[in-house]
Amino acid sequence: MMPSAALLTDATTAEGFLLVLAIVLPVIGILLLFALGGRYIERIVLFLIPAGLGVAAAVFTAVWRGGQALVYFVGGWEPPLGIALRADGLSAAMMVTVAIVIGGTALFARQEFGQPRGRPEARAPLVFWILLLAIWAALNIIVVGDDLFNLYVALELLTFAAVPLVCLKGYEDTIKAALRYMLFALFGSMLYLFGTVLIYGAYGTLDIVLLAGRVHAEPVAWIAAGLMTMGLLAKTALFPFHLWLPPAHAGAPAPGSAVLSALVVKGSFFLIVRLWFDAMPGLMNFAAAQVLATLGAGAILFGSVLALRQQRLKLLIAYSTIAQIGYLFFIFPLAAIATAGDPWSGFGWTGGWMQLFSHAFAKAAMFMAAGLIAETLGHDRIAEFGGVARALPITTFTFGIAGLSLMGVPPSGGFVAKWLLLQASVMEGQWWWAAVMLVGGLLAGGYIFMVLGKALSSTDVPFEARDSVARGREFVALALALCAVLLSLVPLRPSEFLQIGRPAVPVVAPP
Amino acid sequence: MTLALNIFTVLAVSAGTFFFLAGTAGLLRFPDALTRLHALTKADNLGLGLIVLGLLPLVERSFGALKLISIWLLVQLSGAIVAQLIADFVRRREPLS
């Protein structure tokens, strides 16, 4: 059953099997955990997390060394009949980010979600680890998937793992938040699927690489792209589809919030980019890019202002996520319509992705810090944070340096991202986005300092001594925040790695 | 012979359809649950039976005929039992009527 003469320039590459491994490892974990139960959590997870990290690193290295995308045709069947997996530089970088955040979350959650010894299987631990692995599997498919329907299944897998995470604690409010999230997600996934159907009807394939050569700017392509984008925006919680996010992300247990905010919403964003830049490159025009970025700008302003008005830390961080998602959408006007050369070598492309990576690390660290603070205080009301800095110096420091990324202040990945995006908006002559970013940075500074100011103030009531165990978890959060800081070592110019395996400049003849 | 069989098919299926129509009318017009149920089950059994009977001459293989008959039997079985269950439920909820 050898594949017949490949239609593509791509064919399965030597290291392509790594992509299968990256997806299959967490899936094996899910099946084993479900079958064997709570007693085996430690052993299974302890094996899978390093293995998954290793695979992600191997994919990264292979793309780096080879300078080209890894490709795998599942079952040896080439598209359009079969399903392809494809990892370019961007996918590899995403995969590593996902693996590090998942790994960090696993370390952080080990204590909270350990199966109590000698007791019957507990609900929350088993469910948490299965959901965490499912999120990992789904995100790995999303970053390497090359088939729109296969990506639909992955998107559903991601949703089905994310929703129960929201209501893992089982409180009334969290169940309500989860149900609202679910209803938004159902709406989103059906719109996405509908677009997929239209695309198959019009172009006879769902393979992203093949589609790039077939899609024309015509009504059916516009309707399909519009519906799919709307569906994915609902899942990404871009303003004005953000209603579900704050209660959902704030209601989950801290490690869950970290993964939801840092990674899960990025999955659907990644697909929007795949859709417009890879599958339908000829479709993006100035107006469409401006619409998407305007929603992004709305998210930045609206999310930041609402974050400033929150009285509870986890909700504040959740609103900050809404704002930070907004920046991602500047990639459309700032990279899609590059004035010179191809989009991938511009400042906007690298800037957009740096924003995603740095926000992933910073936000995961921040939610963990918030979790530790809430655990120590028994609440997360910002007004009563006096003395937190003295009791939890490392965590307060973590919150601070993660905040640097959100504000876009050096040294942080967020600074690199926002600097590149500013640069791009100046170069593209779209200064209005620069203005929004500056205001957004100031507002972020406002809500970060609001929290830090309270935490650094003194209090009359002394704190009880904490468990020594929490120290390890403080360091996990700190390590993730430091990852966001380390990203500032990335040179302030378009990254070459993120250009690996990108398609040639789209040339689509009008129909 | 074929003509006779065809006429038989048309007659039987028409009669079956009529019973279904009558049953539906009964379902809509009859006053309470039990009489409606009565109309419905009668129509189901007879109507479907006649239709299956009428279709039998058209079936090419005997296995197909077996399938048709088993469909009728299965509907008979489930229809009868579901009607019982509904009636039972109605009786328990409205013991007076």
Binding site: M1, A35, V74, G75, W77, G82, I130, Y200, G201 | L77
Partner: protein
């Protein structure tokens, strides 16, 4: 205007009427009842579209199991309906206009199809003999796009975990809250006794014939699930507690075997989810057999809902 066309017009008119009723009906319970009828009408449409495999799936899963879930939910939520506040009239009208516009745009796409009709039917048929299967839909599901099918099985397992995760902590590992019919030795018991053996044979037949004819693991598994639920409701078998090892093994059996065969492809064939030449059909049958069983158990458990009482 042929007779078939008139039949189709009536079918579509009925379908749209029932669909409208489902959306606008006052009571959720009647909407759910209508939904079951809607699914059966839809299955007829699929038959008319020459997609028998889909018709079977729609009847079994779309109408049957989904309908059962919706009916159960609607009847439990009946008393809450009065409190629901409907959306304001201006908003409703605006949304109605918007939805009509979307539908009209999509209808235009249907009325003016692309000049080139793309189809993968020739390619799918040309390579089908390599697998030894006779049903091209099974070929797509288990050969060309086996990866989708594998992932979808993981989605089902995950859905079950999600549903179970909604149990209160004290009931974890306990017994699902399936409503068992209160009266033993009723006619329902008789139905379960008569129908279940037949249904099990039917489910196995549907999976077995699926390699060459319409049918397959999903449809067969759904019939098995329906029979199992019937037997449990009739009280012939106890609802099992969710911490039973055997139950968990059954749920993951199908996906695990499918995944193992897929991984074996790395060593024995052309890579992940490829089959060694000549062994494709037997391997697919083995995978499908295990999947049928797992789908049956998983769908049954999904219908039964989260654990609601402590295991005895």
């Amino acid at each position: 205007m042929t007779l078939t066309f008139i039949f189709n017009v009536v079918l579509v008119a009925l379908l749209l009427t029932v669909a409208t009723w489902i959306i606008v009906a006052r009571a959720a319970f009647s909407a759910a009842v209508a939904f079951v009828a809607y699914g059966l009408l839809l299955a007829l449409v699929w038959v008319e579209l020459s997609a028998i495999d889909v018709a079977l799936t729609e009847a079994a899963i779309g109408s049957g199991v989904t309908g059962m879930l919706l009916l159960g939910a609607a009847s439990r939520l009946r008393e809450t309906e009065a409190t629901a506040v409907p959306a304001g009239r201006p908003l409703t009208s605006a949304v109605a206009v918007l939805c009509a516009l979307i539908a009209a745009g999509l209808a235009a796409i249907v009325l003016f199809p692309p000049s080139i009709v793309f189809t993968l039917a020739p390619q799918a048929m040309a390579r089908l003999p390599e697998s030894g299967l006779g049903n091209p839909v099974a070929g797509v599901l288990f050969v060309y796009r086996a990866f989708d099918t594998l992932l979808e099985k993981v989605v089902l397992v995950l859905a079950l975990v999600s549903v179970w995760s909604l149990a209160p902590d004290r009931f974890w590992g306990g017994v699902p809250g399936l409503h068992v019919y209160q009266q033993p030795n009723s006619v329902l018991t008789l139905l379960a006794q008569l129908l279940a053996p037949l249904g099990i044979v039917m489910g196995i037949y549907m999976f077995w014939t699926g390699a060459n004819n319409p049918g397959g693991a999903f449809q067969g598994g759904t019939v098995l699930a329906a029979m199992w639920v019937l037997v449990m409701i009739a009280g012939l078998q106890n609802v099992p507690s969710t911490d039973r090892r055997a139950l968990r093994y059954l749920v993951v059996l199908g996906p695990s075997i499918f995944l193992t065969i897929g991984l074996a492809g790395f060593l024995l064939a052309n890579g992940f989810l490829a089959y060694p030449p000549g062994y494709a059909k037997p391997l697919i049958i083995v995978a499908e057999a295990a999947l049928t069983l797992s789908i049956g158990v998983t769908l049954g458990l999904l219908t039964a809902g989260p654990p609601e009482r402590v295991a005895r």
